[in-house]
């Protein structure tokens, strides 16, 4: 339908008075990618999106869309379209006029713009509601109209600010699938801001995890989940135990470190100085009950909580200086050899499951 554009963000910063919302981030979003900006509230993801859209001035740095530097262009001249968090549909206009709004601003005559808006509503399967006002629609329908309004400008990139946050959980999952389908069929670049890692994993080709105005990791979902770059990413993506400690020595290609006030563990990695602090991540579902294959790849702890979750059982373990170590095991494994609250159990994992995390703030 329209050409997609690569978005290139070059050391862009946003400063509000004394506070820095976005700190010199650089990011390249390839054309036709579904990119999710992921992070907790206040991490600068929305500011970044608004700077790409042109609704926020850029304090320093440049944004390039395709071959044009758009840093100083007004929103409508950038070839981007934005979909707002609350959809921002005009309450006084019916759906056709809402969708046709940008054409009206361009001075397209009434018949022509209404016909095109109706086509757009058809694409979103909303033509039956064409004469209604936004207040008469459900959240999911409003979102479709907002999409139609954004796409009628033939944008090269669609920017979505928490598009699913106003929907109930069931609708969220349905609209998520529709967004993905739409992006695939249009082939344009989508940049989607969200604080839900589940949403990001389900949709994105490229996840950009942000924290404190910086990018912690920008990678495909599988890489972000399997090889989180920092402790923040591992914690934010969930399903990881993050353990901190101090390096004592290196042995057989493994870093050995002491957990503060506890035992000694090992992880794959090299080049760590003795005495340096280190974080490692271990997937909760890659831990098993049993003796470790080699020293440092497990510890023994006390079961402090057991949660039955159907297909899996979640155990919380305390020991070796680690407060809350989570283990997810299959229900069949658990009931074959059940453990009880207060039991001391040995835990073990394979050497490749202990991932040494980097630090970007040091």
């Amino acid at each position: 339908m329209s050409k997609a554009a690569e978005i290139d963000i070059v050391s862009v910063s946003k400063v509000y008075g004394m506070t820095t919302a976005v700190e010199a981030i650089s990011l390249k979003i390839p054309a036709g990618t579904y990119c999710c900006l992921l992070g907790p509230s206040g991490c600068g993801k929305t500011s970044t999106l608004r700077m790409i859209a042109g609704h926020e001035s850029i304090s320093s740095g440049d944004v390039r869309l395709g071959n044009t530097v758009v840093t100083d262009l007004p929103p409508a001249k950038r070839g981007t379209a934005m979909m707002f968090q609350s959809y921002a549909l005009f309450p006084h206009l019916d759906l056709v006029d809402n969708v046709a709004f940008s054409l009206k601003m361009k001075g397209v005559d009434k018949e022509q713009r209404r016909a095109k808006a109706l086509d757009m509503l058809k694409l979103m399967q909303m033509e039956a509601y064409a004469t209604r006002r936004p207040a008469q629609l459900s959240g999911g329908q409003q979102q479709r109209v907002a999409l139609a309004r954004a796409l009628i400008t033939d944008p090269e990139a669609l920017l979505l600010d928490e598009p699913l946050s106003a929907l109930d959980p069931f609708l969220k999952i349905r609209m998520r699938a529709e967004l993905k389908k739409l992006q695939t069929s249009l082939g344009i670049t989508f940049v989607h801001v969200t604080h839900s890692q589940e949403e990001a994993m389900a949709l994105a080709d490229l996840i950009v995890v942000m924290n404190d105005g910086r990018i912690e990791q920008a990678a495909p979902p599988r890489e972000v989940f399997e090889r989180p770059a920092t402790a923040f990413v591992a914690r934010f993506m969930g399903d990881h135990n993050v353990i901190s400690g101090r390096v004592t020595c290196e042995r057989d290609g493994m870093v050995v470190f002491d957990v503060n006030g506890g035992g000694s563990l090992a992880a794959c990695g090299r080049g760590q100085e003795a005495g340096a602090s280190i974080d490692i991540a271990i997937r909760t579902d890659h831990v098993r009950i049993g003796e470790p294959p080699s020293p440092g790849l497990g510890f023994t702890g006390i079961v402090s909580n057991i949660e039955y979750r159907g297909a899996t059982v979640k155990l919380s373990i305390t020991g070796a200086g680690i407060d809350d170590f989570t283990v997810i095991i299959d229900d069949s494994d658990f009931f074959a050899r059940p453990v009880a609250l207060g039991d001391a159990v040995p835990l073990a994992w394979d050497s490749e499951d202990a991932i040494v995390l980097g630090r970007i703030h040091s």
């Binding site: 859209a53 609704h55 007004p74 929103p75 409508a76 001249k77 379209a81 934005m82 707002f84 968090q85 609350s86 921002a88 549909l89 005009f90 309450p91 006084h92 709004f101 940008s102 009206k104 601003m105 361009k106 459900s138 309004r149 954004a150 400008t153």
Partner: protein
């Protein structure tokens, strides 16, 4: 959706529980009684009395209960009345146009160009400062400004811009309109400010995203959404101007007439039934105007 569906079910499930807290069918009437009494005693009763009196007979000394239509034929049959009504409607139209224009821009400035809420409130309170004095004082304070030897005239003469003082500044229709605009603009600012503050700012961004220029945003988004506030302000201003007599009397120096002034004169001549008939006609006219405004703009969203 699901919440809305569940609510009646919950209510139906506990009918006994709900009943225990109510005291039969009387409760809603008791709850509405205070307001009904106040409105009945201070609004409905006086209006009924005026309507009743408007059919009475009178002479120079007393009123006689009767059912005559001569008061109405006198009011509607005299060309003086028609002229006075037209004059009043003319004032209402001019003052409405000016207060709407000024009021909208003041409200727009306060709502969109003042960034902090605290500053908005401070400036809004500054707008209301004139209301700390009475209508009459604010009106009379124009006299030393506009008079023959007033501030403006003496300045103009002093600067040699005019050879002799301008006569039409005071005791003229210009003075009446000026004073009314001064008195009533705030009644336009307040409801418009209120509607503008409720406009979701992301709508403005969405319009900009769609390529709208500043004027296009104003014309296509802000003004349509401010219409209910404009309608409420219009009702305030029109009803106030239609019923005004003191401003017309003081500022025109008795050279201009308004319906309310005509009624006041009738009352000072003890022609109460004639004044009452006039009042009923004015009331009907104003109610028709309000009904017209409500037909054009849906203000229910605001209330």
């Amino acid at each position: 959706m699901t919440v809305a569906l569940e609510r009646p079910a919950i209510a139906a499930a506990n009918p006994s529980k709900r009943r225990r807290f109510s005291h039969g069918a009387v409760t809603p009437y008791l709850q509405s009684a205070p307001l009904a009494l106040i409105l009945g005693a201070f609004l409905l009763l006086p209006i009924i009395m005026i309507v009743v009196v408007s059919f009475w007979d009178y002479d120079f000394a007393a009123m006689y209960p009767d059912l005559l239509t001569t008061n109405y034929s006198d009011v509607l049959g005299s060309w003086v009345t028609w002229k006075t009504y037209l004059n009043t409607i003319k004032f209402a139209a001019i003052v409405w146009a000016l207060t709407l224009f000024i009021g909208f821009w003041v409200a727009y400035f306060l709502a969109f160009h003042i960034r902090t809420t605290a500053m908005q409130m401070v400036l809004f309170l500054v707008c209301t400062v004139p209301f700390l004095t009475s209508n009459i004082i604010r009106m009379i304070s124009w006299i030393p400004v506009l008079g023959r030897n007033g501030l403006i005239n003496s300045t103009l003469v002093h600067m040699g811009l005019v050879p002799k003082p301008i006569e039409w500044l005071l005791y003229s229709e210009f003075a009446v309109v000026l004073a009314m605009v001064h008195l009533y603009t705030l009644f336009m600012v307040t409801p418009i400010f209120n509607t503008l503050m409720r406009i979701d700012r992301s709508l403005v961004e969405a319009a900009r995203d769609a390529g709208a220029s500043g004027w296009q945003v104003l014309w296509n988004v802000i003004i349509p959404l401010a219409k209910p506030g404009m309608a409420i302000g219009t009702i305030f201003v029109v009803t106030l101007v239609m019923a005004d007599f003191s401003t017309v009397q003081v500022m025109s120096g008795g050279q201009s007439a308004s319906v309310a002034l005509m009624m006041k004169n009738q009352m000072s001549l003890l022609q109460y039934p004639a004044a009452a008939a006039n009042a009923v006609v004015l009331l009907v006219l104003v109610l028709l105007m309000v009904a017209g405004i409500l037909r054009i703009v849906d203000i229910r969203k605001e209330l």
